[in-house]
């Protein structure tokens, strides 16, 4: 439950992508996204129930046959690899921008990958065990910072409501549904390893989703309340909002707490994504163990990440305009196709009656 929550919560700084699209109505778009993605959660739950002891790559092979299954599996491997690289360099950028401005981003990314690689070699169980303290700490920091920002908040900043063209709401909802929320599809690779009942797991998935998405909502709503129509001017609006908190000389620069927590959450997300990528690679090649592939997949994640986007502006443009369409294929289209095909295959055949 906390692993799911941490995974979503690590995307709470995504307001920088969402803000230029929906401006002061970003909070509304997040709410739309939360409601719409409940159907995605239902779809993933159904797949988990239909194939209780199989991960996504195995599900694809069973549903579409070996050849087509391997092709779809390879596409998912690319998707996991891309997500890991993007998040890795997001972490590097954030750390460089906020705490370690003289350290090259490559060094930060390699260090993160090395720690993640060690964690994966020890088993993902170890990492998921840390999700509870990570989540509790992040919620405490989030609540504290929102309370401290309260004096800076102006609720008139939420007005006017629903003043944008309808297309902007569709774009914003699509963006928030696919980029952070729909990425939960990666948990279809992990669920078979979770040794608890499927109904209990469904409950944990749902509550984890609700907790994570509400944290994202809280961050975005507080940013709007503090920054108003200046929200889209900043690369990291939440940090700017926190920078405005000033409780005397001893209690300024509160954003450092949030940065530390956010780095922890992003590290958690990268480790989960890295594990899923290595697992998918091992599964695709029918390798006996994934442990000997950890470093080499890490090397590709790093090298591939260097080529993705030349600068953060291009990254933001791509995420706002095209990425939601690409991600929809992996988060909705293929899982839905699997669900439909599996249902048809499992449907009881009509019995032939004589005469």
């Amino acid at each position: 439950m906390f692993a799911v929550a941490c995974f979503i919560q690590s995307s709470s700084l995504l307001a920088s992508f969402l803000a230029p699209v929906a401006l002061q109505d970003s909070w509304l778009v997040v709410l739309f996204g939360i409601v719409i993605c409940l159907s995605l959660i239902w779809l993933y739950k159904e797949l988990m129930m239909l194939f209780p002891d199989k991960n996504l790559i195995q599900i694809l092979e069973q549903t579409f046959g070996t050849v087509a299954g391997k092709i779809f599996g390879a596409l998912y491997l690319w998707f996991f690899l891309t997500l890991t690289s993007l998040n890795l360099f997001d972490l590097g950028n954030l750390t460089k921008l906020t705490i370690m401005d003289e350290t090259p981003i490559e060094v930060l990314a390699i260090l993160c990958l090395l720690v993640s690689a060690v964690a994966i070699k020890q088993g993902v169980k170890l990492t998921t065990r840390y999700s509870t303290p990570f989540f509790v700490t992040s919620v405490i920091i989030l609540v504290l910072t929102i309370l401290l920002m309260f004096t800076q908040m102006n609720f008139q900043n939420f007005l006017p409501v629903l003043s944008q063209p309808a297309g902007k709401y569709i774009q914003g909802t699509h963006l928030i549904s696919t980029v952070p929320f729909g990425e939960l599809v990666i948990f279809l690779m992990i669920f078979p390893a979770v040794k608890i009942g499927r109904s209990k797991l469904t409950k944990f998935l749902f509550w984890g989703y609700i907790m994570g998405t509400l944290s994202v909502f809280a961050v975005i709503a507080s940013d709007i309340a503090v920054l108003g129509n200046m929200l889209d001017l900043f690369a990291l609006p939440h940090l700017i909002a926190l920078r405005l908190v000033n409780l005397g000389p001893g209690l300024s620069r509160m954003e450092i707490f949030f940065i530390v927590v956010f780095i922890l959450l992003l590290f958690f997300k990268i480790t989960i994504l890295f594990y899923v990528t290595v697992l998918a690679a091992a599964q695709l090649f029918n390798a006996k163990s994934f442990k000997h592939l950890v470093y080499v997949v890490g090397a590709l994640i790093f090298a591939y990440g260097l080529t993705l986007y030349p600068d953060p502006v291009e990254h933001a443009q791509s995420v706002q305009k095209v990425t939601p369409f690409i991600w929809t294929i992996f988060e909705l289209v293929i899982p839905l196709a699997v669900f439909i095909v599996a249902k048809i295959k499992k449907r009881p055949k009509p019995q032939k009656t004589e005469g």
Binding site: T82, G167, Q171, H174, A281, A282, L284, F285, N286, A287, K288, S289, H292, L293, Y295, V296, V297, A299, L300, F302, A303, Y304, L306, T307, L308, Y309, P310, E314, S318, Q320, K321, V322, T323, P324, F325, I326
Partner: protein, 69 residues
């Protein structure tokens, strides 16, 4: 350049030797499937040769078919 090569040699030494000892053909194939592109991209980036971004290529493709905002 030296650091890049040293890093890749280290990875190969750590993981390839046990795989050859275990005669695990699938694992060796999987290893080289990732090792070769990773090494190629790392060397190209190190030599300041521009590597086209796959995501930007996809962006162009999706825009061309009208799937963009």
């Amino acid at each position: 350049m030296f650091l890049v090569l040293a890093g890749f040699i280290l990875i190969a030494l750590i993981d390839l030797i046990p795989m050859f000892r275990q005669h695990s053909k699938n694992q060796i194939i999987a290893f080289f499937t990732f090792f070769c592109p990773a090494l190629a991209i790392a060397l190209l980036v190190q030599l300041n040769i521009e590597v086209p971004s796959l995501l930007l290529l996809l962006d162009g493709l999706f825009k061309a078919v009208g799937l963009s905002y």
